[in-house]
């Protein structure tokens, strides 16, 4: 319970710091305070001032930050200048698409990565280990955007490209972890006593490595989210990554910082969940 509270506090602090930082970025960005209505010659100076006040463009930096954070806390995420739509509506439309991409991509990455790492750790399967290592190393050298284009050319579902981008990291980390655990004294002792390979793996190796594997699961969410940008752009998937790219090209900073904050929060939540799970495991081991 205490650990959950600490994590909650940490996420809250990140929210406050991120909110202030985002407000600062929006306020200091080039072009802030310039509205196309300023060019409307039918409006007089008073109308322009009233418009600026309504949009919170006038006043000091602190006032702007407080107003901006207040609006965000009330659920008003502003309007996208590039797409001319409320940010909240854009997010509601696109989050499910990205969630689907992340789900399918991470599912593929973990199935391939963990499965091949487990197979590689089995004795007598050196061929599988070498083949998996070669494929993972080759994938590590290919830009994510090129992989996405490859999927488009092959007519394969673009979402799976995220899986192939994350797979090499999952495979290499878990393979090294399993290899290190396999030579630990209690594992060697179990083998010397004639315990079967399956039992050694599930009773002696995996419990030791589970905490690090959970930690990697949290980190892999962050990797997959970063991979979403090139994949969604090039495979034309209308998700958060594609929205961030459109916002970057349109210099729509309010939308972009909101997306970055949202993605950071999602990443922190994933890492917190992974840490809580691994903490529970440690607690279980201690008992």
């Amino acid at each position: 319970m205490r650990r959950l509270g600490q994590h909650g506090l940490r996420i809250g602090l990140v929210l406050v710091a991120g909110g202030l930082l985002s407000a600062m970025l929006v306020r200091t960005a080039p072009g802030y305070g310039v509205d196309e209505q300023d060019l409307d010659s039918r409006l007089n100076a008073e109308s322009h001032r009233a418009l600026h006040e309504a949009k919170g463009m006038d006043g000091g930096f602190l006032r702007f930050c407080v107003a901006w954070c207040g609006r965000v806390l009330h659920g008003d995420l502003g309007t996208s200048a590039a797409l001319n739509e409320p940010v909240r509506q854009l997010l509601e439309e696109r989050i499910p698409e990205t969630a689907k991409t992340l789900g399918e991509g991470l599912g593929l990455a973990w199935t391939l990565g963990l499965g091949l790492a487990l197979l590689s750790s089995a004795p007598g399967l050196r061929g599988v280990e070498w083949a998996a290592w070669f494929v993972a190393s080759a994938l590590l050298c290919v830009p994510a955007a090129v992989l996405a284009i490859g999927f488009v050319l092959a007519g394969a579902p673009g979402r799976l490209a995220v899986g192939l981008i994350v797979f090499p990291k999952v495979f290499e980390f878990t393979r090294n972890l399993l290899a290190r655990s396999a030579v630990m004294p209690h594992v060697l002792a179990a083998r010397a006593r004639g315990v079967g390979e399956g039992r050694v793996l599930f009773r002696h190796v995996l419990p030791v490595t589970a905490r690090q594997i959970f930690a990697l699961a949290g980190v892999s969410v962050c990797m997959a989210m970063a991979a979403c940008i090139p994949v969604e752009v090039l495979c034309d998937l209308p998700g958060i990554g594609q929205l961030a790219w459109k916002a970057a090209l349109g210099r729509d900073l309010p939308l972009l910082v909101m997306l970055t904050m949202l993605v950071t929060l999602a990443t922190l939540a994933a890492n917190t969940a992974a840490e809580t799970l691994s903490g529970n495991l440690r607690g279980g081991e201690a008992r």
Partner: protein, 267 residues
Amino acid sequence: MKIRIAALVFLGLLALGCVLAGWIAPEGYAEQFRSEPDAACSRAHLLGTDDLGRDRFARVLYGTRVSLLLAPAAALLATVLAGLIGGAAGFFGGQLEGWVMAATDLVLAMPWFFLLITVRALLPLNVAPATSVGITFALLGCLGWAGAARVVCADARALCRSDLALLARAQGASGVRLLWRHILPNLKPALYAQFWISIPVFILTEANLGMLGLGVAEPLPSWGSLLRELESCSTGITHAAVLAPLALVILTVSSFQLAVRKKEIHA
């Protein structure tokens, strides 16, 4: 061992090609042969021409120069920042270390690519090509320090608690002398390793940024902007030469990774 030597030889040849680009491809990266757009490989154009009639071989050479010279520059910047931030946090410890590590955690929690395009969007997009090169790689260097800083901080902390630091303090060494003569020289291997690890990461990130149109501006080529040609191959790849930049990226990154492993072992 042999494969590592081969990797280093390949990188050396590539670097030589970059240096001699003006001599090998005198026509330059921006010259257009308007009568031969999208031409196949020939004697005049070893890798054919792109859709604007520019010699692809010349563009690959000059693009290699941009990517291969500036990725190490960005890696150097990131390593220096990591050394300063992580080293100071590890050396002084206490609250400073706590705050620096919290900042590092925050930066690491943000998906790097999101942060990169956010900061890139803050800066002008319609800038001169040379400026866009500087912006792209300065951004990579400025945002890529966090992971390395964590490693350097842990190393500096361990060194400060080591016997050699205790002995130096017992002999009356001041804080500055301890840092300059004992801690920094022992941090070098970690910094070298971080530098070498960062180069392929930055090459790939520039390639991704370039393919999304947020990297180096045209007409200056970089591997990222050269790979954009693949986007136009939606109906299939007409000339195999289009794949030349991709092959070069893969070979270079894998060569760096092979060289890095050796450096890591030394570290």
